[in-house]
């Protein structure tokens, strides 16, 4: 019950103020189409430099939680999902809004998000210490395989092409080797003075997530979005409460689906929402009403995408393997404060870890309260023209990258990686595995070298890295994730025409 011991720290004036700021800001950012939770959190990192570690994490955690929920506002009122996680919400939420039930849809979405989110954070609270204890037994070979697992799972499950996903992961792992080698002090791949100290993770994250969005906004030209905000009529909150708890099946399916999917590294909220929606529809007595503005659709999708948030941090806090791209960005937020998550995080920095987790618990409640009240404002912000949004994001990306080390080199790295990522994305590569490779590369290399030294002095490299049940388990999971993704890719191709695939890709981009 350590989490109760540190609960009071969340309510210190600064911590609580940051929690409020992150929650309200996150709701507004989340409602803005084009600003994904990952990008919002990446742009916020430079603002945490001067804060204490737990304060910075509170801000980032609150933003993560509420951007996911805030995306429902534009999904419901504008039919534009604020984030990929809110795609499923659009199906019934917007239809409800067009029928004059916009307020009800928003209330249901925030209440379901809070229930799912609270369950997910409780899972984080109770699973994390158990896994952290277990992870203490991990040696260098296991940590090496874990890092490879993190890259391959995201590379295969998060990408539309297995080979391109793995290739993105390799690019990230290679980028992580640029600079001076830790053991020999030798120069590696230093082709420009800007990268002589290696690639700093924060500017890289900002570039990889923000710049492709900016260029995508440029490609829309001088067109206006013309999204009409549907006016919201009042709806008693008491009735929304009753509705959420009346639809127990949808709430339970959404919450459980989101939590389980959140625990699997690489599978994001987008899938959680869609899978939960699909399962709720299958088990519902009113399945024919789905898609026509049915409350169960909103409840299932929103409870799932917020239930995913807490569990997605379990592998990050216990094994230092980020479960999602946003978790990878949060890892960057930890690293800038010199804190490395993993088995000993709860022993060395219990206050930081538990205050952060507790703040996510309180953040879910705040998100629900404020979400209900500022939905209208958030929808107005969501209508900011893309020209202004692109210029704002570009300015923030440049200033944010520069402020990391007061270095123009970081700005150049940010811009170059971002520009490259935009073109890579157009050819089917994705940013998530590249980021994971960049972050997990040093972990993989350090443990590979350490393991090799131990192996050379004892049983030999083959035996050290390829024997033992834990090594085997991790290798089997790596191979299983690749095989499953290849099988899915082949099966999907068999049933999807090329035109369908192109249309789907256009819609997602």
């Amino acid at each position: 019950m350590d989490f109760l011991f540190y609960m009071g720290d969340v309510f210190t004036p600064i911590n609580f103020g940051l929690l409020l700021l992150g929650t309200i800001g996150g709701l507004i950012l989340g409602a803005t189409p084009g600003l994904s939770p990952t990008m919002a959190v990446a742009l916020l990192i430079p603002f945490t430099f001067q804060l204490e570690p737990q304060q910075g994490l509170i801000l980032l955690g609150a933003a993560y939680t509420s951007t996911v929920a805030g995306g429902a506002v534009s999904a419901i009122l504008l039919k534009i999902p604020g984030a990929p996680a809110n795609i499923a919400t659009t199906l019934d939420g917007h239809t409800m809004a067009t029928k004059g039930e916009g307020a009800k849809a928003l209330q249901l979405s925030f209440l379901a998000s809070a229930v799912g989110g609270l369950f997910g954070v409780f899972l984080l609270i109770f699973l994390t210490p158990v896994l952290a204890q277990w992870a203490l037994a991990f040696g260098p070979s296991h940590l090496f395989w874990l890092a490879i697992l993190g890259v391959t799972v995201i590379g295969t499950l998060d990408s539309s092409s297995v080979v391109k996903g793995l290739l993105s992961g390799c690019i990230g792992l290679w980028l992580a080797t640029i600079g001076f080698d830790d053991i020999m002090g030798a120069q590696r791949f230093i082709f420009h003075p800007s990268v002589s100290g290696g690639i700093n993770v924060i500017p890289a994250l900002i570039g990889l997530f923000a710049i492709p969005q900016v260029i995508t906004m440029f490609t829309k030209g001088r067109s206006s979005d013309d999204a009409e905000v549907i006016s919201v009529k009042k709806h008693p909150i008491r009735l929304a409460f009753l509705e959420v708890f009346k639809r127990k099946a949808a709430l339970t399916i959404g919450t459980l689906t989101g939590s389980i999917i959140g625990l699997i590294p690489g599978v994001g909220g987008q899938i959680a929402g869609l899978v939960a929606y699909d399962q709720s529809k299958k088990f519902s007595k009113e399945s024919e009403k789905f898609g026509t503005g049915h409350s169960e659709g909103v409840i299932a999708a929103e409870s799932a995408n917020n239930a995913m948030v807490g569990p997605s941090l379990v592998p990050l806090l216990t094994l230092s393997i980020p479960g999602s791209p946003t978790a990878a960005v949060l890892l960057g937020g930890l690293l800038i404060h010199g804190i490395f998550p993993g088995p000993d995080l709860f022993m060395n920095y219990p206050q930081v870890a538990w205050t952060f987790i507790d703040s996510m618990l309180i953040g879910q409640i705040l998100m629900c309260i404020f979400g209900l009240y500022i939905a209208g404002l958030a929808a107005s912000v969501a209508r900011i023209p893309h020209a202004v949004m692109a210029a704002i994001v570009l300015g923030l990306a440049v200033f944010g990258s520069y402020s990391v080390q007061n270095s123009m080199g970081d700005v150049y790295v940010m811009a170059t990686l971002g520009l490259g990522m935009y073109f890579l994305e157009r050819f089917g590569f994705s940013a998530a595995p590249l980021v994971l490779g960049l972050i997990l590369g040093p972990i993989a290399e350090a443990n590979f070298i350490q393991g090799s030294m131990i192996a050379n002095a004892t049983v030999g490299i083959g035996s050290y890295f390829f024997t033992g049940w834990l090594n085997w388990l991790l290798i089997v999971i790596v191979l299983a994730s690749i095989s499953y993704s290849v099988w899915m890719e082949v099966a999907q191709r068999r049933y999807t025409t090329k035109d369908d695939a192109v249309a789907k890709e256009e819609a997602l981009s």
């Binding site: 001067q50 391109k164 390799c170 290679w174 023209p385 210029a391 300015g395 440049v398 700005v411 811009a415």
Partner: protein, 154 residues
């Protein structure tokens, strides 16, 4: 798939394969060899996957990625040029705040759907730029104490 994306796929995957093979070559030839053990491992996989992707592109079997259409390129190019000049030259050459203000104003003007002929539109763009710069100055110079390059202007 039309010919345009196919050619684009060949060029893009060819470039990546070139990078992959170069990295592998450097990893296997640079000294001290001990510093390149891990890069060798990574670059070998990188090169194999990149050549595989290139091969598929040459054979026209690439299934994922729509490439960039001429229309999208035409629309993005002005913004891209402004962004590149801003980041790689103006931010350092003119000073961070001056360059940001100019780039912001130019980008908003370039992509704003409102007609360029109306005086009110320009006034609105100037006001938005001024507001944004005030927030950026407050946040970075005031709150975070970030000392940005001043150079010619500010």
């Amino acid at each position: 798939m039309t010919d345009l994306p196919r050619n684009q796929h060949i060029i893009a995957s060819g470039l990546i394969a070139g990078v992959g093979v170069s990295i592998a070559y450097i990893s296997f030839t640079q000294e001290p060899a001990d510093a390149f053990v891990f890069p060798r491992l990574i670059s070998s996989v990188f090169a194999v996957l990149a050549l595989w992707t290139f091969g598929k592109a040459v054979l026209g079997k690439t299934k994922v990625g729509n490439g960039i259409s001429g229309d999208a390129m035409k629309k993005m190019l002005p913004g891209l040029i402004v962004a590149i000049i801003y980041i790689y030259w103006a931010a350092k050459g003119l000073g961070f705040y001056t360059a940001t203000a100019i780039a912001f104003f130019v980008l908003v003007s370039l992509y704003d759907p409102a007609p360029h002929t109306e005086f009110k539109t320009w006034l609105k763009r100037i006001a938005i730029t001024a507001g944004f710069m005030a927030v950026m100055y407050g946040l970075f110079a005031g709150l975070l104490n970030v000392f940005t390059p001043r150079e010619i202007f500010f």
